[in-house]
Structure formats: structure tokens, C-alpha cells
């Protein structure tokens, strides 16, 4: 058995994974070294790739995306009207072009009192359109409709329109935004369909 040549032959005939008995010390070392080195190399190679691919979904990254953003002078939003406003995606890249401009609906209830609605329907994210004549927001995709205060009026949406938290500073309207509103990422907990009591911070 100690004859290296017979050891080699026996190992060659055996199916993989069933090697240990007839391995020489040298073969054993090489196998361990080979598997071990590749395991370490594999982890060193793969870990950054996984980190790279998952980077946009990291918790820290998601928190960092939310900022106070200005929608412009208060004078743009007369009392009793609902108007389209735009903010620039804070995470914008130079080659984003027009997709960096994100719209939202600003309803000025009375001087200093606002509701800022996401453009995205609470059902599946399509752009809702405001109709002052009938006082409704309507969605072009699956027929969702909302009242002027964002409460669900009809159709498939499971809740009222998403609302952004807002503040007034230096005669400008600011909202806390920076990510696409979805049921998993509502910009604030305010929902016109929920009983009052909760309020924006």
C-alpha cells in the first residue's frame, strides 16, 4: 500500500469524493491546499460582487435617499387649487436627463396648509391626473380615482394617494422625498382614508 504507484492507480479508479484511504501525504496536502485556496479566493472574489449587486437595496442607502427638497416659492400654489410641482431626484446622475424630474401634486387648502400627493397611483404606480372640474384624481391604467383630499374614491387602489411630509421655510414649500412611493415605501404615514389623529411630523 505504501507503494506510490499502486496508490495512484487505486485513487484514479475510485469515483470522486471517495478518495481519502489510498492518498499519499503529498496528494492529500495538494488536495487540501487546492480546495482551501479556491474557497478563500472564491469568497474574496464573490463577496464584493454580491455587495456591488445588492448596494442599491442596502438599508443605509435607502435612508440616505430621503431628503428635504424644495418645490419652489409658496406663491406658485394659490389657495384652493391643486397644481403640479416638480422636484429633482436627489440621487440624480448626469445622464439621467428628464427622468431626474419627479412630479407631485400640491394642494393648497388655505394659506400655509398643504397636502402634497405623489404622482404614483397607490394601486400600481401609474401617473394620476388631476381634474379640477370634477374634483378628482384619475389614474389612466386600471381606473383608480381619488377625491381632492387624496382619499380613495373608486377602483382598485388599496388606500388613498401617497402624501409627502411638508414644511414651509424661507417662503418655500419643502417636501421629504427621494424615492418612488410604493406600498412598501410610503413617503409618510398619512392616508386620507385613515381616520384622523395621525399627522405629519
Amino acid at each position: 500500500m505504501s507503494d506510490p504507484s499502486t496508490g495512484k492507480e487505486a485513487a484514479a479508479e475510485r469515483p470522486e469524493g471517495d478518495i481519502p484511504k489510498h492518498l499519499t501525504r503529498r496528494q492529500m496536502l495538494l488536495t487540501v491546499a487546492g480546495v482551501g485556496l479556491n474557497a478563500i479566493a472564491g469568497v474574496l472574489f464573490a463577496a464584493p460582487i454580491i455587495g456591488y449587486l445588492l448596494a442599491p437595496a442596502g438599508r443605509k442607502q435607502i435612508k440616505k435617499d430621503i431628503e428635504w427638497l424644495s418645490l419652489g416659492d409658496l406663491t406658485q400654489f394659490p389657495a384652493g387649487e391643486t397644481r403640479l410641482a416638480t422636484y429633482r431626484n436627489p440621487d440624480v446622475r448626469p445622464w439621467d436627463g428628464d427622468t431626474g424630474n419627479i412630479p407631485c401634486w400640491v394642494r393648497c387648502i388655505s394659506a400655509g396648509q398643504f397636502q402634497v400627493f405623489a404622482i404614483n397611483c397607490a394601486h400600481l404606480g401609474c401617473p394620476v391626473r388631476w381634474f379640477p372640474q370634477s374634483g378628482l384624481f384619475m389614474c389612466p391604467c386600471h381606473g383608480g380615482a381619488y377625491y381632492a383630499d387624496g382619499a380613495r374614491a373608486s377602483g382598485p387602489p388599496p388606500r388613498g394617494l401617497f402624501q409627502y411630509d411638508y414644511k414651509i421655510q424661507n417662503d418655500q414649500l419643502w417636501i421629504k422625498a427621494g424615492q418612488m412611493p410604493t406600498l412598501a415605501n410610503p413617503p409618510s404615514m398619512v392616508d386620507a382614508n385613515q381616520p384622523k389623529g395621525r399627522s405629519c411630523a
Partner: protein
């Protein structure tokens, strides 16, 4: 001639591919399987190769950047020679490919070809179908227009319904917090590198198994598949009554693929490329997003699912359907192959085809969506205005101005979201009309806050005139009983 043969021999001595290729081409197939029913798989493969060629051509010009993608498509459509044609070939090729893959799948299901020993061929085929659909969706995203932008919004919103990790999934899908260039770049990588690479690998395995296991024999009622005897029976069938795949069965594949390519070229030349539609500018809120043809059924289903069950069905439905497709050959891997002896399977197939076709048909005219321009573009039909009082005419003005027509049609024009109003006076009394308008209900928003009492009176006065000639308007039974004359005189509008 001798030179070519010597060159061939020189190459084969080194490559050693001659014998395997010869064996593959001459493998015997059952005589009856050299049939027109068996041509869809090879045609799908042909189309995939064409998609690779046209896709590569498009990649020479296309720019995967949110700011430039739409413009580069305009260059392809209008400036680059034959750019429009290559785009048309690629877009129509995608439709053709989904259609043929589905036909191939239906044929395999009908003929019981997924049964022993071809279970894994079917399972790999299910993944090929899924990849084809992913290619179609990601391809629609690369045509970076309004539809693509809001299609991504729908995708992200579905991800956002996943419990616990929904937020992370949305960011992962978009490559950031909001739809932007990062989103387009990752869909480009998926469409151009990831899935095509996987497609090549999976098609290779799929074809290898077709060669190793042989083409399914024509199913005969009563010829039952048993694990113990099938391989022997198949061997006898192919060797006693078989024909070589090349050229006997190959001829029909050749003719059909040729016809498909011709049809594709004609479609592309006649209909031209798909879009792009409006620029992907999210601040243009006049977008009316519609998915491509093969996703219309899904679009319709998303509008029609009961809201309470929607999240559950969206998240549980797809894994269940895919799971069932994968389990099918494992659960029903033996037994009858003939469709004549598999009534449940045939009914299930019929049900699925009818359901998908019906949903697709609904998706082409989206009756659940308001027609957002109806109020300003489709007038009240003239004959409904003749001989009306000023109050009623004021109501007719309001029915336009308050956008009732976006959801309700008159004389065949207007939205289909709510019922047509041509005979509303037959269905509802004046009091019921007022209640319905002010309080809404049954999917109609309440207009109480948006109509003054005078406006409501005018609107109802007009609606009370809307009944077909010869049908009396609805009257309040309680009032009818107290009235002195049998015909009531209750109808205050006098119609």
C-alpha cells in the same frame, strides 16, 4: 472539389465533429412524427437566432442611457439606413417568438410529449418560456418611452407589495430609489447579456435531450406510457418504422421556418417598428401607459382582480403557476398520451386559452379606465338635446363639464367605466339619481362636494329625459300609490 474534401478531412481530424454531427442528423424519428405538427420548436429556434442577429445590430447604435436612449431610437428610425427595418424585425420577431413558443408548448402538451422520459425536456422548456417572457418585458423597457417608464413603475409597485423585503426589492429592481438611468442600465444588462447567455445554455440542454431521447412518437389512444417498457417500445418503433431526421423530417421544418421568416419580414416591412411613443418624461402626466400585446392579459387581470385579494394573488399566483408547470411531468409522467383519452387536461388547456384570450381582448380597449378626453372631445348627441327645456339643457352642459362622460357613454360615445346613460331614467327615479350622484357608490365617486344644489337639479332634470322612446321612466312606487290618477302624473319633467 478534391481540395474542399481534403480541407474537410484536415479540419475533422482536428475538430472530430463529423461523426457526432452525422449521428445527430441521421438519428431515426418515428415516421408519423415527421409531421407538420412538429415544426414549432425548430421555428422558435430559428426566430431566436434571428433575434440575436437583429439585437446585435441594434446594439451597434442604441445608447442605454436615460437621457439618450429615446433619441438613439429616433436615429435608428429616421437616420440610420434600414435602422427602422432592423427595429421592426426585432420587435415583430419578439411577438412571433412568443407566439411560436406558446404554440410549441401547446402542441407538446396536446401530444403528451412531456411524459417519461422527456420530463426534464419539458421543465427546461418552462424555463425557456419564462426567459422568453423576461426578454419581451425587458425589451419593452429598452424602448425607453412613456410606456417603458410607467411599466417599470408598475413592476416596482408589484415588488412593493412583497411583505418585509418589499422596500429592498423595489430599490434592487430600480437600481436606486427612483426610476432613472441606473434602472435602464440594469435592464440593458439583463436583456443583452444575462438572459441571452442563459437562453443559449438552456436551449443547448433542451436540444441535447431531444437528440438523446428522440422525438416524441405520434400519440395513439390506448398506447400507454410505462416506465418499464417505453424505451424498448420507442426503440422498436423508430428502428422498424422510422425515418432519418435529416432530410426526411427536416424538410417540413425547413419549409415552415422559411414561411415564418417571410411572414416576419413582410410584417416588419408593412407595419414598421414599434414606437417609441412619447419621451420618458415623468412630468408629462398625460401619459396613457399600455403594455405590449403579450402582457395585455396581465394588465387586464391587474384591473379586474378583487382589491382585497390582489396582493395575495400577485405574490402567490406566479409561483403557483410556475410550480404547477414544473410539477406537471413529474405528477403525470406516465399513462395515456393521446388527447382523446385526457379530457381533464384538454378542458384545462381550453380554459387557460379562453381566459388568456378574453383578458387580452379586454386589454385592447380597457373598459375599466375612464376615457379621460371624452368630456372635452365627444359632444352630447344632438337628438338628445332637441325639444329640451333650458334647465335640462343646462344639465346637458354639466354632464360634459363635470366629466361624467369620461366614465359614462351617451349614444355610444364616452368611457365604459360606468353604465351607459342612454336609458338611465328607466333604471333610476329622480331621487335615486340624486342619491347616486351626491353619495356615489358601486364604484362611482361621490360628487356631493363638487355640485351646487342648482347644478344637481339641472343634471337630474337632463338625466330624467334619457329613456328610449316607448319605455316609461322609472317612477317612485310610494308616490305612485298616493297619486290620484292611474298614470301618476309623477314624472315632474313631463317626459
Amino acid at each position: 472539389m478534391r481540395l474542399i474534401r481534403r480541407l474537410g478531412e484536415w479540419l475533422d481530424q482536428r475538430l472530430q465533429l463529423g461523426k457526432p454531427i452525422h449521428d445527430a442528423l441521421s438519428h431515426p424519428v418515428p415516421r408519423k412524427s415527421a409531421s407538420w405538427a412538429y415544426v414549432f420548436g425548430s421555428a422558435s429556434l430559428t426566430l431566436m437566432i434571428l433575434q440575436f442577429v437583429t439585437g446585435l445590430c441594434l446594439a451597434f447604435v442604441y445608447v442605454p442611457s436615460a437621457n439618450e436612449a429615446w433619441n438613439s431610437l429616433q436615429v435608428l428610425n429616421h437616420e440610420q439606413s434600414f435602422g427602422w427595418f432592423i427595429r421592426a424585425l426585432h420587435g415583430w420577431g419578439s411577438n412571433f417568438m412568443i407566439a411560436l413558443v406558446l404554440m410549441h408548448m401547446i402542441q407538446v402538451f396536446l401530444f403528451g410529449a412531456f411524459k417519461f422520459p422527456r420530463e426534464l425536456t419539458w421543465i427546461v422548456g418552462v424555463f425557456l418560456l419564462l426567459m422568453t417572457l423576461v426578454m419581451a418585458f425587458t425589451g419593452q423597457v429598452l424602448r425607453f418611452d412613456q410606456d417603458a417608464y410607467w411599466g417599470l413603475g408598475i413592476g416596482a409597485s408589484i415588488m412593493g407589495r412583497v411583505p418585509f423585503i418589499g422596500s429592498h426589492l423595489v430599490h434592487l429592481m430600480l437600481g436606486g430609489p427612483i426610476i432613472a438611468s441606473a434602472t435602464l442600465s440594469r435592464f440593458f444588462a439583463i436583456h443583452v447579456f444575462l438572459i441571452p447567455g442563459a437562453l443559449i445554455a438552456f436551449v443547448g440542454v433542451h436540444l441535447l435531450m431531444v437528440l438523446k431521447l428522440g422525438i416524441n412518437e405520434w400519440p395513439m389512444p390506448g398506447r400507454v406510457v410505462k416506465r418499464e417498457t417505453y424505451l424498448k417500445e420507442y426503440h422498436e418503433l423508430t428502428h422498424k418504422d422510422g425515418v432519418p431526421f435529416f432530410p426526411d423530417a427536416f424538410r417540413k421544418d425547413l419549409v415552415f421556418s422559411g414561411l415564418i421568416i417571410l411572414a416576419l419580414v413582410l410584417c416588419a416591412a408593412y407595419f414598421g417598428p414599434f414606437g417609441p411613443k412619447g419621451q420618458p418624461d415623468p412630468t408629462n402626466v398625460h401619459a396613457m401607459p399600455v403594455p405590449d400585446f403579450f402582457f395585455l392579459w396581465l394588465f387586464a387581470a391587474l384591473a379586474l382582480l378583487p382589491p382585497q385579494m390582489e396582493t395575495f394573488l400577485l405574490l402567490v399566483g406566479p409561483p403557483v403557476v410556475i410550480g404547477l408547470l414544473i410539477l406537471l411531468p413529474l405528477v403525470s409522467g406516465t399513462g395515456e398520451k393521446s388527447w382523446r383519452r385526457r379530457p381533464v387536461a384538454m378542458l384545462a388547456l381550453l380554459l387557460i386559452v379562453v381566459a388568456l384570450a378574453a383578458l387580452t381582448q379586454l386589454g385592447t380597449y380597457t373598459p375599466w379606465s375612464p376615457d379621460m378626453d371624452a368630456w372635452s372631445s365627444i359632444p352630447v348627441p344632438k337628438k338628445l338635446l332637441e325639444g329640451r327645456t333650458p334647465l335640462e339643457l343646462q344639465g346637458a352642459v354639466l354632464i360634459q363639464a363635470k366629466q361624467c362622460r369620461d366614465c359614462h357613454s351617451l349614444g355610444g360615445g364616452g368611457g365604459l367605466r360606468g353604465p351607459a346613460l342612454d336609458d338611465v331614467a328607466v333604471r333610476l327615479t329622480a331621487d335615486q339619481l340624486i342619491r347616486q350622484i351626491l353619495q356615489g357608490g358601486g364604484n362611482m365617486p361621490a360628487y356631493g362636494k363638487n355640485l351646487s344644489p342648482a347644478e344637481t337639479t339641472a343634471l337630474v332634470a337632463f338625466l330624467k329625459t334619457l329613456h328610449p322612446a316607448g319605455q316609461r321612466p322609472a317612477t317612485d312606487a310610494a308616490l305612485l300609490n298616493t297619486a290620484s290618477t292611474p298614470h301618476g302624473g309623477v314624472d315632474k319633467t313631463g317626459h
